[in-house]
């Protein structure tokens, strides 16, 4: 199961990088979303998969059933929230940029360079 998800992570990164290289700002942002999801999945995978097991058990129950590691789940939750905030901000920025300049083309963004 881990190997399949690892391949999915790779695929998501591929799609993300491909979209990052496009000229449209919107596609660029979609690429960022793909990459951020790939990263979240990677962090989630880092503890290994323990399907169908709880992360918490009653204190003193003494069961020896396998436990899921709660920490990566908490990390991913935080990362998803942060990612949400950032994606909204980038979309708002893109929207304002489109409103003032009327362009979605990254090649037009050369004024502040050099």
């Amino acid at each position: 199961m881990e190997i399949i998800l690892a391949i999915v992570v790779g695929l998501l990164y591929t799609v993300g990088v491909y979209l990052l290289l496009r000229r449209s700002i919107l596609k660029f942002i979609i690429g960022l979303i793909f990459m951020s999801n790939a990263t979240n999945l990677l962090v989630f995978l880092s503890a290994g998969l323990v399907p169908g097991s709880p992360a918490f058990v009653q204190a003193g129950s003494g069961s020896s059933a396998p436990l899921a590691d709660p920490l990566p789940q908490a990390l991913v939750l935080t990362a998803i929230v942060i990612g949400l905030g950032i994606v909204v901000f980038t979309l708002a920025l893109k929207y304002k940029f489109f409103e003032t300049t009327g362009t979605d083309d990254l090649d037009q963004l050369k004024k502040t360079d050099n």
């Binding site: 990052l20 700002i25 660029f28 960022l32 990459m35 951020s36 990263t39 979240n40 990677l42 962090v43 989630f44 995978l45 880092s46 503890a47 920490l71 990566p72 990390l75 935080t78 990362a79 942060i82 905030g85 950032i86 901000f89 980038t90 920025l93 893109k94 304002k96 940029f97 003032t100 300049t101 963004l109 004024k111 502040t112 360079d113 050099n114």
Partner: protein, 495 residues
């Protein structure tokens, strides 16, 4: 007493709340200055505490060390907190006079404190994932700050700033994931303990490379710096100076923290890589700065060039070199912010940042010339001021350790720095004002609130030069603490 460790984070948080509640702009100004003033006192107190105890650790929520989030202050964190508070304070005063009417002070100070909170959090935390969270807090505040006012250039610069920094954050997070997968912990002290005796530590290189690129983007080192000169000159000068003094230096701080505390395996490869990066960073930044004629752009490339020195100190990796890197970082934070502040004053006097369009300022205001001279001399490394000692320590460390190439590069880059500082001096102060539209702008006498921040930072630079011996002793202690982190590990893990 131990709760004080969390206060550098909580204090900006309290001020954010009060700014959200009280929306008056006049009050926002006072709150901003008052809050950052308190921050100086607080960091000063922490600094004294740390000198007494060595390392202080707070286990948040009472969760024992490897399981909960730990906040740690050691010598390096303490000095960074103090310097950052000083810069934040001077920018708060500066903002009162230099922000345009289109930017509401209330808005500015909310995100200003957001940035400060993230910054202090990054300095204080002892947990890798928590560090990521503080980076994001800082990054989001800086996104908003860089687009405040919403001019066309700002939005364009904002997109460039955002895109590269977000990719950096994603790499950071991927690094965190791999680190956790290998070691099963994210507490820095625990990581150090685990990796110290791990004969498979070389596997950490995958994770370390991701962190290297992520911090490289944040700190703007050689092949990854392109976001910085494309965006730093777009916002208002207040915001530029805030970023110039603080943001990239957090990247350097994390470099020093990670590569002295737990990525200490495979030293030859990493130090070689750090040195090569440092050399190219210095030269690329210095050359680009020499080619430009807009103050903010020159100074932006300078930031990059000087990041190279700090990375160089880390790459040489002797106690003396790391002390030099710390000395250089704090000197540079202060002097760099100061040059940006003075650039703002020049632009206010003449109405433009283009050096070709201005001139004759020395005659009109010798006082402004002195204000510029102090940080410029400091950056160029003229003896009585802080920069000379910073560079001297680094070069001495390089020669002692036999890193002749990087030392030569550092000395040559010093020449380039001097050249660009002289260029600003000649163009803005010495040459006669060209006959153009800006010539008729009447020169207004500087008000107290306008020059006070620069005087404060300039005086600090000079004092750092005069009392360099004391400061050097302190940075040496900090470096020894970094090279041998047993006290850090013990304090965090054994409480």
């Amino acid at each position: 007493m131990i709760t004080f460790v969390a206060l550098p984070i909580l204090l900006p948080f309290i001020f954010i709340i009060s700014l959200l509640v009280f929306r008056s702009d006049r009050l926002a100004g006072w709150l901003g200055v008052f809050g950052s003033g308190l921050l100086i006192l607080l960091s000063g107190y922490l600094f004294i505490l740390v000198q007494k105890h060595g390392v202080i650790a707070l286990q948040m929520g009472g969760w024992e060390a490897p399981f909960g989030i730990t906040l740690v202050v050691d010598f390096l964190s303490a000095i960074m907190l103090v310097v950052a508070a000083l810069i934040v304070f001077s920018i708060a005063i500066y903002a009162l006079r230099f922000l345009p009417k289109t930017i509401r002070l209330n808005r500015f100070f909310i995100f200003f404190f957001g940035l400060t909170m993230g910054l202090n959090g990054a300095f204080v935390t002892g947990d890798v994932f928590n560090l990521f969270v503080w980076f994001e807090v800082m990054l989001m505040s800086s996104f908003v700050l860089i687009t405040l006012g919403r001019t066309k250039e700002q939005l364009e610069g904002g997109i460039k700033y955002m895109s590269l920094n977000l990719i950096g954050s994603l790499l950071f997070l991927a690094g965190v994931g791999l680190l956790y997968g290998k070691t099963g912990t994210l507490n820095m002290a625990h990581l150090a303990e685990i990796l110290k005796n791990d004969n498979q530590a070389i596997l950490m290189n995958t994770s370390a490379v991701l962190f290297f690129v992520a911090f490289g983007i944040k700190a703007a080192v050689f092949p990854l710096y392109f976001w910085l000169p494309a965006s730093y000159h777009t916002p208002n000068i207040t915001i530029s100076s805030l970023f110039a003094g603080l943001l990239t230096k957090v990247g350097v701080y994390t470099f020093i923290r990670f590569f002295t505390l737990f990525f200490v395996h495979d030293q030859q490869f990493w130090h070689q890589l750090l040195l090569i990066t440092a050399g190219f960073t210095m030269v690329a930044g210095g050359m680009a700065a020499a080619a430009h004629y807009e103050t903010r752009r020159i100074l932006s490339y300078h930031i990059i060039s000087q990041i190279g020195y700090m990375i160089m100190g880390l790459g040489i990796f002797t106690p003396l070199a790391i002390a030099g890197a710390i000395f250089f970082t704090i000197h540079n934070m202060i002097a760099k912010t100061n040059t940006f502040l003075v650039a703002g004053m020049i632009a206010k006097a003449r109405g433009t940042f283009e050096l070709k369009e201005v001139g004759g300022l020395f005659k009109q205001s010798p006082f402004l010339a002195i204000l510029f001279m102090v940080p410029a001399f400091a950056l160029a490394g003229v003896p009585p001021i802080s920069g000379f000692f910073a560079k001297f320590i680094l070069i001495k460390a390089g020669l002692e350790n036999g890193n002749y190439v990087i030392t030569a590069v550092a000395i040559l880059t010093g020449m380039l720095t001097l050249y660009s500082m002289i260029k600003i001096w000649n163009e803005a102060f010495l040459k006669a004002q060209p006959a153009n539209e800006y010539a008729s702008t009447p020169f207004k006498k500087l008000k107290f609130a306008e020059y006070f921040p620069s005087v404060l930072l300039g005086a600090t630079s000079i004092l750092m030069g005069l009392f360099a011996a004391y400061l050097f002793d302190f940075t040496m202690n900090a470096a020894n603490q970094l090279i041998d982190p047993s006290l850090y590990i013990e304090t965090v893990l054994k409480g």
